[in-house]
């Protein structure tokens, strides 16, 4: 038999719930969208993030979007000079944005230039194309730009890249 007691003291707010349900569902859509963008590479690995700039005798394959403290990789493909050496100059400001864990092949030496470091790599023949892989860890947040120059060639071809690092 139904009770005749007074309704319990419940601080209900149905209009608030109705608004909340709409906002929650919008939030689910946003989450889904973020996950899809993440799969596409907006937050790191993925087709949206992979990029290549330049063409022979200097091009750089890199990730547009990085995450701080996460691994990153740069593949620089460049043509060696007539003396069988590849001199790859990279802007010093860019080199401070990540920590280099390894460079393959290892440079013979590193020279200091004006606002840049010049990595010198051996090549087996003059004019040979060498791919240098930099493995590192992204450190600086936000947008930063890198400048790469093939210092050994007379025309000094230059390539610029732009990356964004998420927290």
């Amino acid at each position: 038999m139904p009770s005749r007691k007074a309704a319990p003291q419940i601080l209900e707010d149905v209009p608030f719930h109705e608004r909340q349900w709409i906002v929650q569902r919008a939030g689910w859509l946003v989450a889904l969208l973020l996950l899809m963008l993440s799969m596409a590479g907006l937050f790191g690995d993925g087709p949206l993030s992979r990029a290549t700039v330049g063409e022979a005798p200097l091009h750089v394959a890199y990730q547009r979007f990085l995450r701080r403290d996460a691994p990153m990789r740069l593949d620089v493909t460049a043509q060696a000079a007539q003396d069988g050496k590849l001199r790859l100059a990279i802007s010093r400001a860019y080199l401070t944005t990540f920590e280099i864990n390894s460079i393959v092949p290892e440079p013979e030496r590193t020279d200091s230039g004006v606002d840049e470091l010049i990595f010198v790599f051996p090549a087996s023949a003059s004019g040979e194309t060498v791919t240098v892989t930099f493995d590192g860890t992204a450190r600086h947040l936000g947008r930063h730009q890198g400048l790469f120059r093939n210092d050994g060639l007379p025309e000094h071809p230059v390539v610029r890249i732009s990356q964004f690092t998420y927290p």
Partner: protein
Amino acid sequence: MESVVRGTLVYLFLLIVFRFSGTRALAQVTTFDLVLLLIISEAVQQALIGHDNSLTHAALIVLTLVTLNVALSLLKQRSRRAEKLLEDVPLVLLTEGKCLQQRMDKVRIDQDDILEAARELHGLERLEQIRYAVLERDGKITIIPHAAAHGDT
């Protein structure tokens, strides 16, 4: 500074995600909910700590999280609106044995969940024995039985 920023960002992110997922989503209703919570805590731990394993860093993060929690509880105490936004409000799901189906659908609760709570809390067997079923702010369902049904048990 970084400890405080990390702690604050993680706190706010979790607050938003849990509010959007709904009160019921991770209310430890099933064993899997508990496992999911453990996985989430494990995933967030790395972001909180980063590469700094120092005692100072850990202490600052704990201090940040606790301070934010106290600050928000003070805010909730002073503002009913903030309380509703941050903690949700209870929702009646069943009155006098009748399910409020539209509300139950919106909060993803079915009759079985209500009957389970009724059995667990009061040993009730049927919906008609329930006077009110309420979805509380912590995602749990509470049951107010009819006086007669309660007397029978």
